[in-house]
């Protein structure tokens, strides 16, 4: 993936084309409002991620559009009238429409749940802000690694810090470079690596936890021993040692390593949950029907735990970012500029800690990291609502 910028004019075109689909469907169904919203959503996500964002967004927005016109028809399981209308030999098209409408309803319910918790929604907005900042920011504010010190050099100054000014809203760093452009460009690699680490952690933990609980026996004991072992080594110092051992030039490798060190807690939780779920009737029934391990995990266990797992993943992402910035802060990993962590390290080592003039160099990345982490934590509140069917139903 090109880390400079994903957004491109081609993406804009792709997004516009994708957006036509929900728009046309909506206009034919005389529901212009969701259609226009769908068009905008496709346009934006296509713009941001090309086909990668455009195609899934077609599906999602079309689903929402369809669900608006499909609402008149009730669920045949709940309404007698609808039951009489059900055509048991439904055509393929009808089935697709019905499924789409179902998906759309879920999305609408989820988005309503998302908005309900104020703190959670704030977190969501924060994450959207960082998303926009990292995808579209680079288009508006190109990376500016040039020193701007030529005519502003102060007499005898060692560092070229400068406080905020109209030209440079966040000021200049120790080499006289624009801090704002570093903030805009310096978060992407960090965020991507953290998210990768979180996903890796979650995948390892869920698989191992489920396997340990469902197979049990010796395997369970071995996995538990490994988990115990990893939990006993102090994580961060170990990372520092490993950083000396392995070059983290490749950030993906760092993500894998963070994932390998972070899974035990979630794995234990998954294991415990699976063990308790296993006692319940429907999983027993699935066993009796001999539906196989993957089926039981995917269809019975995961849906029950999804809220727990996703929230844990958010916390893993948070932990990974903590570790990465911490490593950079101690100067233990190779620097790749621009990067928030490097800014913090440089700011401190160049003495920004003690001069009010230079505070922006430290404060800007510090606040960026803090806000991102805060958004993550707050967002979990909304996630709880989104995944909680009881809360979602508005009872």
């Amino acid at each position: 993936m090109d880390l400079q910028s994903l957004a491109s004019p081609t993406g804009l075109l792709i997004g516009a084309l994708c957006g036509l689909v929900p728009l046309v469907i909506a206009l034919r169904n005389r529901t212009p409002r969701p259609g226009i919203l769908g068009f905008l959503a496709c346009l934006l996500s296509g713009f941001a991620c090309n086909v990668l964002g455009g195609l899934p967004m077609i599906l999602l927005t079309v689903a929402v559009v369809v669900s608006y016109t499909y609402t008149d028809r009730d669920d045949p399981f709940l309404s007698r009238a609808a039951l009489e209308e059900v055509d048991f030999e439904e055509t393929f098209g009808a089935m697709v429409t019905r499924r789409l409408a179902g998906l759309g309803r879920t999305i609408r319910a989820a988005s309503r749940a998302l908005v309900r918790n104020k703190a959670g929604f704030l977190g969501f907005l924060g994450l959207v802000f960082f998303f926009v900042l990292n995808i579209f920011g680079p288009m508006v504010i190109p990376y500016d690694g040039q020193p701007h010190f030529y005519d502003r050099r102060r007499e005898g100054a060692i560092n070229l810090f400068q406080g905020p000014s109209a030209e440079f809203p966040l000021g200049l760093d120790w080499q006289g470079r624009d801090i704002l452009s570093h903030i805009v460009h310096g978060g992407r690699a960090l965020i991507i690596t953290s998210v990768q680490a979180g996903v890796i952690t979650t995948v390892i933990a869920v698989i191992l936890g489920a396997v340990a609980a469902l197979i049990g026996g010796l395997l369970d004991q071995i996995l538990n021993a490994i988990a115990n072992f990893i939990l006993t080594i102090p994580q961060f110092p170990l990372l520092v040692v490993l950083a000396g051992l392995i070059s983290f030039e490749d950030r993906f490798f760092l993500a894998v390593l963070l994932g390998l060190l972070d899974w035990p807690t979630l794995m234990r939780a998954v294991r415990a949950q699976v063990l308790s779920l296993r006692e319940r009737d429907y999983v027993e029934a699935a066993y009796a029907l001999d539906l196989g391990l993957p089926h039981i995990v995917m269809r019975e266990v995961l849906p029950q735990m999804i809220s727990y797992i996703v929230i844990n993943m958010i916390f893993s992402i948070r932990g990974a970012m903590y570790a990465i910035v911490g490593l950079v802060f101690l100067g233990m990993v190779p620097f790749t500029e621009p990067d928030w962590g490097v800014m913090i390290f440089m700011g401190r080592s160049q003495g920004a800690l003690f001069s009010a003039e230079a505070a922006s160099m430290l404060l800007s990345p510090v606040i960026a990291v803090a806000l991102f982490q805060l958004s993550l934590v707050l967002f979990t509140r909304s996630l709880e609502e989104v995944f909680n069917p009881r809360l979602r139903a508005g009872l």
Partner: protein
């Protein structure tokens, strides 16, 4: 008598011995102890091998320093560095391991490589109290605040206190501890000038003579304020939120209503029925976090120039002081294992249901 012992008797003696051993091993305590020892050994071996895989060794690092500072040839610097340290980089790792293990059994952590002649244990004992003091105090304070505030919030949930503190706790919980440390220095120290940053750093004012004098103790305490405040702010949010949800769950329990129906005073219900039960899961977590007190916070100690075990560890890592590193890792592993056992014991003492489950 001994000379005439029949082979059968010897055999049955052994059988009895094995039987007793096996019984002891199946006992819960013995098994936990054995497991703990195994874990410590595994961590020790793992780190032993790992740290020796890091590029360059103490002699090379020292040689590089000499080259940088004295502008001599690398060969000369190398031989000087090698003579400085009682460490042979070419000794096979297996030999080093066996030697180390043999010493360790006698509780000898070996000599520090970079400060030749100083036992590692002495150094650890010199740094450890500072870390235990600052991190431990922070942990205790934030746990206590968390318990009381979390309970109060659950009790008056939906009120102003609840909303304000929940927001605050989420913010504190969301921000990494080193960021809090930097913000404290930057905003409270540099911008608002509430304290002098230069004076606040370090673990004690070096100009004051150590001893049980009021000045010295005052200096120790005042230098601990920043790290302790940082540890408290970074962890208190988590304790508060956990205690709140645990209390809410307990308040919904039938036995709380029944206790009220029995006419118990509000205070009695709150302490013996709600508080006690809601605290159970947190006490275990407290015990587990005690294990991590020893490791301290590497980054916080670095920021505040607070020379505790964490700072000692990073210094050792940079200098590739294998024995020192090894010692710190070992101490941390031991304390984590012990803390986990403590958590088990505590939980068993507080919750009779677990006590029975363990024995079976």
């Amino acid at each position: 008598m001994e000379a005439t012992t029949s082979p059968q008797a010897v055999q049955s003696g052994w059988a009895a011995f094995w039987k007793a051993t096996r019984r002891a091993l199946t006992g819960y305590t013995a098994r936990t102890l054995l497991q703990g020892l195994l874990t410590i050994w595994a961590v020790m071996t793992f780190t032993f091998v790992l740290i020796r895989q890091m590029p360059s060794n103490p002699v090379q690092i020292e040689a590089e320093r000499i080259v940088r500072e004295e502008l001599v040839s690398y060969e000369e610097a190398y031989s000087r560095a090698a003579s400085l340290f009682d460490f042979d980089p070419n000794q096979p790792i297996i030999e080093q391991y066996v030697e180390y293990l043999a010493k360790l059994i006698r509780l000898d952590f070996g000599q520090s490589i970079t400060s030749a002649g100083t036992p590692v244990l002495d150094q650890i004992l010199q740094y450890l109290p500072w870390t235990v003091f600052s991190v431990g105090l922070g942990l205790l304070i934030s746990f206590t605040i968390g318990i009381f505030v979390g309970m109060a919030m659950a009790y008056w949930r939906g009120g102003i206190l609840d909303n304000v503190v929940t927001a605050l706790a989420s913010i504190l919980f969301g921000i990494p501890n080193y960021i809090i440390a930097l913000l404290i220095i930057l905003i409270l120290g540099v911008q608002l000038k509430l304290f002098s940053v230069a004076e606040a750093l370090g673990r004690v004012d070096p100009t004051i003579e150590p001893g049980f004098t009021p000045e010295y103790i005052g200096s120790v305490l005042s230098h601990a304020i920043l790290p302790v405040v940082t540890y408290v702010s970074a962890t208190v949010g988590g304790w508060i939120l956990t205690m709140k949800s645990s209390t809410i769950a307990t308040l919904g329990e039938e036995y709380v209503t029944v206790a009220q129906a029995r006419g118990l005073s509000q205070w009695r219900v709150l302490t013996a029925y709600v508080g006690r039960n809601a605290m159970l899961p947190l006490v275990t977590r407290l015990a587990i976090s005690i294990g991590f007190v020893v490791g301290g916070s590497v980054i916080i100690e670095d920021i505040y120039r607070y020379r505790g075990l964490g700072k000692f560890l990073t210094t050792a890592i940079v200098a590739r002081d294998y024995t020192s590193m090894q010692g710190v890792f070992l101490v941390i592993a031991v304390s984590v294992v012990v803390a986990n056992m403590l958590a088990d014991v505590l939980y068993g003492a507080l919750d009779p249901r677990v006590r029975v489950g363990k024995e079976q």
